[in-house]
Amino acid sequence: MYGDADLPTFFADFGVAVNFQGVASKGNFDRPVDVKLSEQGFGGAIIATPAVRMPYNAFRPMPKTGDAVTVDGMDYTVSEPTAEADGAVVCYELKKVALGCRA
C-alpha cells in the first residue's frame, strides 16, 4: 500500500530540480513540441507545451496560476495546474517568462 510518503519515489530517478519560493523538490518534466495553428494542415507554428508533474504535497502551499517556478534551471510561470487521476500527482503547465529560445 502506497501513501503520501511514497510519492517522491516516483520522481527520484527521472525528476528534475523544481524550485518554488526558495524550496527545492523534484518533478517529472516534459516539453512536447507540436505544430499548431496550421492552415489546412500546413504553415502552422511550432509550439512547445512544457509541463512538470509533482506530488500534490511537494510544496506548501503548492504553486498556483501565475506563480514563478524554476524547473531544471529555467524560469517559468505556472499556466494551469491540474490534478491527475486520484489527485496525488499535479500537472503544472508552464509558460516562459520572456521571449527567447530554450537553451
Binding site: 499548431k36 500546413f42 507554428a45 509550439i47 508552464l94 509558460k95
Partner: protein, 144 residues
C-alpha cells in the same frame, strides 16, 4: 514559357509588398511550420476566385486571398500581432491597385486563432479581395 496569371502576379506583389525585413518576413503559401525564431511572420495564401461575364470578351474577376500574421508572445498575443497587421496593411493599401495589376483591393474580414503553450501564439488572418478583369482566353492578360 507562359506569363503568370494576373492572380498569381497579385500573390507575388502582395508578398513583396508586405515583406518587412527586421519586422516580419512574408512567405507565399508556405507549407512548412514556422519555428519560434522565425516569428513574427506573414504567410500569404490564395483562397478563391469568382468570375463574372459582363461582355463577350472579358472575365471580371474577384480574387480572394488571406494574409496570415503569426506571432508568439509571453502574454496578450493579440496585442503583439497588431503592429505587424497595421504595418502590413498600411503597405498594402498605400497602393490598392497593387501597381496597376487590379482595379482595387479591399479588406473583407478578420479572424483570430489562438494556441497556448510555452508562449502564447496567435494567427491573425485577414482576408482581402482584389478585383480585375482579364481576357477570356488568357488569364495573364489584363483588360478593362
Amino acid at each position: 514559357m507562359t506569363a503568370p496569371s494576373i492572380q498569381s502576379q497579385v500573390m507575388a506583389k502582395v508578398v513583396a509588398t508586405v515583406n518587412m525585413p527586421g519586422v516580419a518576413l512574408a512567405w507565399r503559401s508556405r507549407m512548412s511550420a514556422f519555428n519560434a525564431g522565425e516569428l513574427p511572420a506573414i504567410n500569404v495564401l490564395p483562397e478563391e476566385g469568382d468570375a463574372e461575364y459582363l461582355d463577350t470578351d472579358s472575365i471580371d474577376r474577384k480574387f480572394t486571398f488571406r494574409v496570415r500574421h503569426i506571432t508568439a508572445s509571453v502574454d496578450e498575443c493579440d496585442a503583439a500581432i497588431d503592429p505587424v497587421y497595421v504595418a502590413a496593411q498600411k503597405l498594402l493599401f498605400a497602393d490598392p491597385t497593387l501597381g496597376g495589376l487590379v482595379r482595387f483591393t479591399r479588406e473583407n474580414s478578420q479572424k483570430w486563432e489562438f494556441e497556448k503553450g510555452e508562449l502564447d501564439t496567435v494567427a491573425l488572418v485577414v482576408t482581402y479581395q482584389a478585383e480585375f478583369s482579364t481576357t477570356r482566353s488568357d488569364p495573364s492578360v489584363a483588360c478593362g
